[in-house]
């Protein structure tokens, strides 16, 4: 019924320049953005993380998507399935 995309990602970044004296934390996220005929804008977060300090701001990780990448179905359909 539903198609969900599963991904493996290699993410590497150097975000040290974002840490000024005033930076509390950096929230990093990777999102899929796409169009469908009925919805001109869709954004789905796939992975996110929090970098607490400059020491951790240069990183490389290998991971799968944290959130399900599944297109939105109409609420009525979903609720029927749940009922």
């Amino acid at each position: 019924m539903f198609r969900s995309v599963s991904m493996t990602m290699n993410i590497s970044a150097n975000l040290q320049s974002l840490f000024t004296w005033n930076t509390k934390q950096v929230f990093v996220f990777l999102a899929a953005e796409y169009e469908t005929p009925k919805k001109p804008l869709n954004q789905i977060s796939l992975w996110d993380g929090i970098i607490p300090s400059k020491d951790h701001a240069k990183f490389w990780i290998h991971t799968s998507n944290k959130y399900r990448f599944i297109d939105q179905v109409q609420n009525s359909s979903r609720m029927q399935l749940l009922a």
Binding site: K24, F29, K38, K39, L41, N42, Q43, S45, Q72, R78
Partner: protein, 191 residues
């Protein structure tokens, strides 16, 4: 006899004037204090309403009550909110009201779907420190937030300041003691 009567009359007059003076003083003092209290309360209301106008949000300032957004926001922090017409996008921290719950929730947007026909937007949120998304928090049967549920975006914060509010809410006796103390302070102050 005439002199004595006259002396008595003068004395009684003086006493009368003194009593009137004392009465008048007390009334004026009480009125002044009442007006001062009213001014303080009214000033607080004016500041709050002004903040609502400036930020465009029903709740311009909120206190963080849970640890769902740690490590960014901890219990006892104060968040400043702002609402505008800008579109809502993934990654933003929004404040929303759920039908049937009176306390607004501050969480992060992880999914957005915009409809072409109505321009309506469907939003899914999650607390950074939570394992799952917020569907358990929404009203029964509700899967998405819409624009009208969202009261603003978080644009700033102050740590620790909100603890006063939390303590007063959880220990009402402290609230009454504090209000009583402030009231006494105002009443006993001399100009």
């Amino acid at each position: 006899m005439g002199d004595r009567k006259e002396a008595i009359a003068i004395t009684m007059g003086w006493i009368g004037e003194s009593v009137d003076s004392i009465k008048s003083l007390q009334i004026r003092q009480v009125l002044t204090q009442a007006v001062s209290l009213g001014m303080i309360v009214t000033s607080a209301l004016i500041i709050w309403k002004a903040l609502m106008c400036i930020t465009g949000s029903e709740s311009p300032v909120v206190v963080v009550l849970s640890g769902s957004m740690e490590p960014g926001f901890k219990r006892g922090d104060i968040l400043f909110l702002h609402m505008s017409k800008d579109p809502i996008r993934a990654g933003e921290i929004v404040v929303f009201n759920v039908d049937g719950r009176e306390i607004p929730i501050v969480h992060r947007v992880i999914k957005v779907h915009e409809r072409e026909d109505t321009g309506e937007v469907d939003v899914l949120t999650k607390g950074d420190n939570n394992y799952g998304d917020d569907r358990l928090l929404y009203a029964h049967g509700q899967l998405w937030l819409q624009r009208h549920h969202i009261m603003g975006r978080a644009v700033g914060f102050l740590p620790y300041v909100g603890w006063v509010t939390i303590i007063m809410t959880e220990k009402p006796i402290i609230k009454y003691i504090l209000i009583g103390a402030l009231g006494l302070l105002v009443i006993t102050s001399k100009d």
